[in-house]
């Protein structure tokens, strides 16, 4: 069989670029790459920073338990983003909505539980200064994983790139907040809702926008 039966324009395009390619690694392996970066960042922060002052008074399920839950859910979201990036393997729209809503719900519920169980507000939490501090820490911790996830997403061919970006942004921040939850001395609910959950929303929006820009550039270049 030859390429003769194929229209000329297509045949020439194929003939001019037919070098072998290496297939994309499976989703779980690419997720592990993002998780490795996440683990290095979070472990280095945990090694240097001191735990929240009310750590001993919080029940185990709320301190380390919620942290592990957030970490696991963050990794799951990163995996979903990378799965969404592969054509023909995208996750159903309903599952995307559930994942995004659960990412926010996890943040909010952890915040509410912490404010209820924490014996005292150990720092004034309504101020902007501690909030900006938390947002900065969250950004610094989430950014490497977020960038790695987006890079892995865009190396595939996401057909709903904004959706993949949104899931990647949510995953990176929820996982990073697993450590912030162990460090942040402010248990005030408004602080957690505005600044911690706000960081998740901001990264989801950035991921969505990055996906939209990528999609426009990718398909504009299309012949």
């Amino acid at each position: 069989m030859s390429l003769d039966a194929i229209p000329n324009g297509l045949r020439e395009a194929i003939e001019n670029d037919l070098q072998p390619v290496r297939p994309l690694h499976p989703v779980w392996l690419r997720t592990m790459l993002a998780v490795a970066i996440l683990a290095v960042v979070l472990a280095s922060v945990l090694a240097k920073a001191s735990l929240r002052p009310d750590m001993d008074q919080l029940p185990m399920w709320l301190s380390w338990g919620c942290s592990v839950l957030q970490l696991a859910f963050g990794v799951l979201l990163i995996g979903l983003a990378l799965r969404e990036a592969v054509p023909g393997a995208g996750i159903p729209r309903g599952a995307v909505h559930v994942a995004a809503a659960t990412a926010l719900a996890v943040q909010i519920l952890v915040g509410i539980a912490t404010s209820v169980y924490s014996p005292a507000i150990t720092m004034p939490g309504s101020g902007v200064t501690p909030g900006i501090g938390c947002l900065r820490h969250e950004t610094v911790m989430a950014l490497p994983t977020f960038i790695a996830t987006l890079w892995l997403v865009f190396r595939a061919l996401p057909l709903r790139a904004p959706t993949a970006g949104l899931l990647g942004g949510a995953g990176a921040t929820v996982a990073s907040d697993a450590v912030i939850h162990l460090l942040c001395p402010v248990a005030n609910l408004s602080h957690v809702l505005v600044w911690h959950s706000g960081a998740v929303v901001v990264f989801m929006a950035i991921g969505w926008s990055a996906g939209a820009v990528w999609e426009r550039l990718r398909w504009r270049r299309a012949p």
Partner: protein
Amino acid sequence: MAVDRHAEEQQLIALMIAYQKGDADAFSGLYEALKRPLIRYLWTFVRNQTTAEDLLQESFLQLHRARQTYTPPRPVRPWVYAITRHVALMHLRTMRRRKEIMPDEDLPEVPVPPEMDQLADRATVQRLLGALPRAAQEVLILHHLLGMSFEEVGAIVGISPGTAKVRAHRALKKVRQRVIEEGA
């Protein structure tokens, strides 16, 4: 039939692996195996023979550019159809932006799935199918005409297999109802 489908899928996987290794004949094999069903599928989006053929070429160019994103031994068809679908949707988006409309005389015959052939005469079924929303037509064509499983249809369209099944069932029911109404 199921054995044939499995053998066909295995053949597509083998061709895809060879294509990723730079085999031009493998690309020809894929083109031959997929061009007809892809054209049928593209008709649900554009209903214009020339445009469908242009989109088919563009789809194969996109498949070529994205060939490393196929991971063996996953099924080839959901990967191919998902990219083709996206090419068609991007085309429709561009058309909408430019406010271009296809002339009516360019509308081709809507392919009729075998299950629907006995519902009424072919022209009636085609007309009723053509009147269905595109999302319903798409699921019907993929499942009933191109023989995809609802899992594959869901993966291509970005919905759950259950939703794909419900969508196909409702579309068939709607066509049947219209046939009965018109018969009455």
